[in-house]
């Protein structure tokens, strides 16, 4: 096992069951052996009060590691591939279109190195995997996690074996294979891949980022909360809208805000949390609508594959947060998801994948229903890149105007495009 330089600022001290409170040592463990509840990392954050300041964070690296004292790693040399510190874009054109006054987009479509928020969780998980002595890492993935695990494992020199559903988008498969891991394509949906991967974990002593390393892995998403607070000038927004798959991201953004409040880096306030799902896989939205406190699993059928988790592990916690903060959880159709992707691209120049389309479509729906106040400072989290899910918009975005290489051809094409544009905007009589 590699010798790890322990840092004086590391504050994580144990794993603790979210359900029964039982504590465990900081090993590769993810469930409580008494009640099967998920384990979460606990910190001694009070020791950071006064020691970690806005200035000390700003002097840190331009990556998620500027928040290292809040993350579950001991080393002072984490795997830093420039992950995090993605743009927080003031989205004035989209805001006007929707009827909002203060809308911002947290753009993880351009996160490094693999263009999704997963680079945050994987940077943390693989840094911790190395500390725990693993030489092979693995994961069950809907695509983005596989891209990220394979890329960062390549950088860190770790062996890698990833499990994906066999029907994933081509871009996500290719974007994993290029890094040279073993890729196992399972003929089943993500929930089946996840189950199989858990069974493999029973007999293979690897570091599975979303299984035995999950308590460390999921903490990486807190940085989406920290960055937004810092980028807003050390204050919290009024409302956030984020996609819901397993529910982990949603709960960790919340935890990120709470950490900063606790350490005194931002003023305490209630931030409303709203979640977005695709109708074809909306177990959390259904539970929210029916006022249930349990999740009934579903079989996913949607183009939003990256968030198609029918049996969401953190669903109940996401429900709890949306309810206690006065937020909502809503679902949109596949057609609305495609429109959401187009709307974000056309108004803000951001090409997101289907999960981002889901978030924008739900944002639009919540504004229309009066569930987001126009005055609220609202942050929509865009977690992945559209180039990975090109199939979803193929056939819905027009085609190039092909011409001969002469001016006449160009003028004719230009005229034609104006006509097409006019037709698109004219009211259609039915």
């Amino acid at each position: 096992m590699t010798q790890v330089t322990s840092s004086s600022t590391a504050t994580f001290r144990a794993l603790k069951c979210k359900e029964c409170g039982e504590e465990y040592e900081l090993a590769a463990l993810h469930v409580c052996e008494f009640c099967f509840g998920p384990l979460e990392v606990v910190y001694d954050l009070s020791s950071l009060r006064g020691r970690v300041t806005r200035e000390s964070i700003q002097e840190g690296p331009h990556s998620i590691w500027r928040y290292r004292p809040f993350l579950p790693v001991a080393t002072e040399n984490p795997i830093d591939v420039g992950t995090g510190m993605t743009p927080l874009v003031r989205a004035n054109r989209l805001a006007r279109r929707l009827g909002l006054k203060n809308l911002l987009i947290k753009n993880d479509a351009v996160n490094m190195p693999t263009l999704s928020f997963k680079d945050r969780v994987v940077s943390v998980a693989l840094t911790r995997a190395r500390e725990l002595g693993f030489t092979t890492v693995s994961c069950a993935s809907t695509g983005n996690l596989a891209n990220s695990t394979a890329a960062i494992a390549a950088h860190a020199g770790l062996d890698c074996c990833v499990f994906i559903p066999a029907d994933l988008e081509a871009g996500k498969v290719l974007g994993t294979l290029i890094y040279g891991p073993t890729v196992i394509a399972v003929q089943g949906n993500y929930d089946q891949v996840n189950r199989l991967c858990s069974e493999v974990a029973n007999t293979h002593p690897w570091g599975f980022v979303n299984i035995n390393l999950r308590p460390y892995y999921s903490e990486g998403s807190k940085t989406l909360g920290y960055e937004v607070a810092e980028q807003l000038g050390w204050q919290l927004p009024d409302h956030v809208v984020a996609p819901l798959a397993s529910g982990s991201l949603f709960t960790k953004i919340y935890k990120g805000f709470q950490d900063f409040i606790q350490v005194g880096l931002v003023e305490d306030k209630v931030v409303r949390f709203s979640g977005a799902q695709a109708e074809g896989c909306s177990p959390i939205a259904q539970a929210f609508a029916e006022e249930r406190d349990f999740i009934t699993p579903v079989k996913p059928s949607t183009i939003a594959k990256s968030i198609a988790i029918g049996n969401p592990a953190d669903g109940v916690y996401a429900l709890e947060i949306a309810r206690k903060t006065g937020g909502n959880i809503s679902a949109v159709s596949d057609a609305e998801i495609v429109e959401g992707m187009k709307l974000l691209a056309e108004t803000e120049g951001i090409f997101t994948e289907t999960a981002g389309g889901t978030t924008i479509a739900v944002l639009q729906k919540l504004v229309a229903a009066g569930k987001i106040d126009p005055e609220e400072t609202t942050v929509a989290y865009i977690t992945g890149n559209g180039l990975k899910t090109q199939e979803a918009v193929q056939g819905y975005i027009g085609e190039p105007l092909t011409i001969q290489p002469n001016l006449e051809g160009f003028e004719r094409a230009l005229e034609r495009s104006k006509t097409l544009h006019r037709l698109e905007w004219q009211p259609v009589l039915v």
Binding site: E33, F36, A140, T142, D191, R195, N202, Y217, P297
Partner: protein, 91 residues
């Protein structure tokens, strides 16, 4: 008759570190009882006070979640495989 049960790492201390156990049972509830006889104490970890599987536990019969079948009343046959899997995050 016998059913193959896949045991998660967390519970392998009840099974002498075995990842699979052969067991009997006409349905899932019945199987959990008989598993508890060969591995005393394991049922209390899997089920709550009312005898229902805990909320962060997933049980599968031949790769299908029992919540899509008949829950703990899902019938079992010789050669079936039952998998015990804690909930996991992902994406």
């Amino acid at each position: 008759m016998s059913v193959k049960v896949l045991i998660p790492t967390t519970l392998q201390k009840f099974t002498n570190n075995q990842a699979t156990v052969l067991c009997d049972g006409s349905d899932v509830a019945n199987l959990l009882e008989s598993l508890d006889q060969s591995c005393p104490g394991i049922k209390a970890r899997l089920c709550d006070e009312k005898g229902q599987p805990r909320r962060f536990l997933n049980l599968y019969v031949n790769s299908e979640d029992i919540r899509f079948l008949a829950g703990v009343n899902t019938p079992l046959q010789d050669g079936d495989e039952v998998s015990i899997v804690p909930a996991v995050a992902g994406g």
